[in-house]
């Protein structure tokens, strides 16, 4: 028997675990928008020379609780919510050992790819102590073909909305073994109502790096481009820092495993535009062309970025891949939940056939009887009505997971018109059905009851004739609203 230390153990030795107990302040974009930094400063001040036990973390997804802080004693953790309303004395007391009787913790379901969100201070040592790079370590121990089989068996599909089987897409690109292959990570996340990739990148950027390296082991890429939404600055900063740390640790180049990965990772920021989330638009954007869609075929896996075979994966998809060796991999989807609910935030929801819309509403503290509809998928979405609330959540239906809950007083007609106006503004103008159609739709929606047939025909033309899904799906919310609540427009 050999007694050599494993590469992962060596890394963990080199990057030690932070000391406990400690207090994590939930900063990030969400925390900072409600002054979390100020409460962090007060807590540090109150602790005086013990202030080094306080560290900044990102949001754990529980946006409703912000500004918040979590006290960590080994496996026991307790989050203190709404510090603006509750003060910090309890936080200090808990740090000193008196946490009260109950573990007052309303979670967001995070047990899969969100398990480290808000639970780490961003250092490599901290995430390594919470199993980061464990899946990569296991992936490297098997062949690419075995890895692809495991991903296929795990049933992983794309989480950006199109629900395409991951293993199949990776195999398409891997088949081009005689050409350099490219990976594009779509973290553009420009769909109004969706904020999952921002949370993943701010709170656990090493998970995305691990996902990229697992994909690299399966397919073998020459370059990976990570395209991050231009407004998501905190996400970019966190990801840059993680890249630097992983590089220094020999994770990026493979030297920590005494290998040479030969992958170059590039970082790009978007500059706005809903259409930039469309995968062929991202390719044009990276190449320095006008950000407009390409005609398909050719498909990106044959000829994509710089005409090379290219895999385009959503950031959440690659993060989800890191759960491939869990038995079984948790079938979860990130749902960005906002609107008229007591607990809006980022939820990791089991898509196991047992969770329903009503169940999701209950998680967020909402009474389904007080909900008029759920807008699912923003400007490309549909309205889920109360008669569907007992339906089980399906990956295929959830799309990118953007949900806005409309309470009794919400005006569905107004929301529909706003979405139509948004699609008109965001149409890139490249193809006629979308450019002209989205504008015409706004006019017709002024008095839709006079134009039902024309609206139907227009939606058909846009759906069939648009170059990309911005135009192709722009009619969905209109159709959905008119089918289900036509009276609302009168």
């Amino acid at each position: 028997m050999t007694t050599t230390i494993s590469p992962l153990a060596r890394l963990r030795e080199r990057y030690p675990t932070p000391r406990l107990p400690r207090i994590l302040i939930h900063r990030g974009t969400a925390g900072d928008a409600v002054d979390a930094a100020r409460y962090g400063a007060s807590i540090r001040e109150a602790l005086g020379d013990r202030a080094s036990a306080v560290a900044d973390a990102a949001s754990d997804g529980a946006n409703w609780a912000a500004p918040s802080a979590t006290v960590v004693h080994g496996t026991f953790t307790r989050r203190f919510d709404r510090l603006d309303l509750n003060g910090i004395d309890e936080v200090i007391a808990c740090f000193e050992g008196d946490c009260g009787d109950e573990a007052n913790y309303a979670g967001t379901g995070g047990r899969g790819l969100t398990i480290r969100l808000g639970r780490n201070d961003g250092t490599l040592g901290d995430v390594l102590s919470q199993s980061a790079y464990g899946a990569l370590d296991r992936a490297l121990a098997i062949t690419p073909e075995q890895l692809l089989d495991a991903i296929e068996k795990g049933g992983f599909t794309g989480r950006g909305g199109a629900h395409f089987p991951v293993a199949m897409k990776w195999r398409f690109a891997a088949a081009h073994s005689d050409e350099p292959r490219m990976l594009v990570v779509n973290a553009e996340e420009g769909e109004p109502g969706v904020f999952k990739d921002r949370h993943l990148l701010e709170g656990d950027p090493h998970r995305l790096i691990e996902g990229i390296l697992i994909a690299h082991h399966a397919v073998g890429f020459e370059h990976a481009y990570v395209y991050i939404n231009g407004q998501a600055r905190a996400a970019r900063v966190a990801f840059e820092r993680a890249l630097e740390d992983a590089g220094e640790a020999g994770i990026l180049d493979g030297s920590a495993w005494e290998r040479s990965f030969g992958l170059e990772i590039h970082l790009r920021s978007g500059a706005g535009g809903y259409v930039c989330g469309e995968e062929s638009v991202i390719l044009n954007s990276i190449e320095g062309k006008r950000p407009v869609p390409r005609t398909k075929p050719p498909f990106a896996t044959d000829r994509g970025l710089f005409d090379r075979p290219t895999v385009i994966n959503n950031a959440e998809t690659l993060c989800a891949i890191t759960t491939v060796f869990e038995n079984p991999p948790p079938p979860t989807k990130l749902v960005s939940l906002s609107g008229d609910v007591p607990r809006p935030g980022l939820y990791e929801v089991p898509v196991d056939g047992a969770t329903t819309w009503a169940g999701l509403l209950a998680m967020a503290g909402a009474n389904p009887q007080h909900v008029q509809a759920i807008l699912l998928g923003g400007p490309s979405g549909v309205f889920v009505m109360p008669n569907q609330f007992e339906d089980a959540l399906e990956m295929r239906v959830l799309g990118a997971g953007g949900t806005v809950v409309l309470g009794q007083n919400a005006d569905i007609a107004r929301v529909t018109r706003e979405l139509a106006a948004y699609n008109m503004r965001e149409s890139c103008g490249e193809c006629t059905p979308c450019r002209e159609g989205t504008a015409r739709m706004v006019q017709l929606l002024e008095r839709p009851s006079d134009h039902r047939d024309e609206i139907g025909a227009l939606i058909e033309v846009m759906t069939e004739g648009s170059l990309c899904q911005l135009g192709g799906m722009a009619g969905r919310p209109v159709q959905s609203a008119l089918d289900q609540v036509a009276d609302a427009f009168d």
Binding site: D32, P192, G288
Partner: protein, 146 residues
Amino acid sequence: MRPMNADESTFDLESMQAGMVRVDALPRDRDQLLPALQAMHEALHWLPREAISYVASHIRMPLSEVYATTTAYSELRLEPPVPGQWHVCTGVACDLAGASTLLEAVPGAAGIDCQFLCALAPVASDEHEQLFGRVSAEALRERVGS
């Protein structure tokens, strides 16, 4: 379409020079177009004709094509930002949470599309694009006034 020089384009010369230095550091390849425009934008906070033209010659692309690309990105400004301008998000969640009331109550603020902080609606942002969540009309009025 907006003319390239909507008014006398005035910009800070030092910021322009800082932007030029950053552009010069980038490879002269087409795929550096957006990073170069962004470098200029970060330095100047908008893109005057001179900045776009400098990027075009650095990347060795026709000015018209660079301009066309610039207009396609909503975050790249072609006019100087209004100093002290506040925005109120008008995305669906913020609209439900009373964004229109905020805009009525604070006439100095302008509407802006979804800022992706939907769970903390309603959301406002200051001139530096710092986001503020669960904003009340009173708090916003105070901040905009100060």
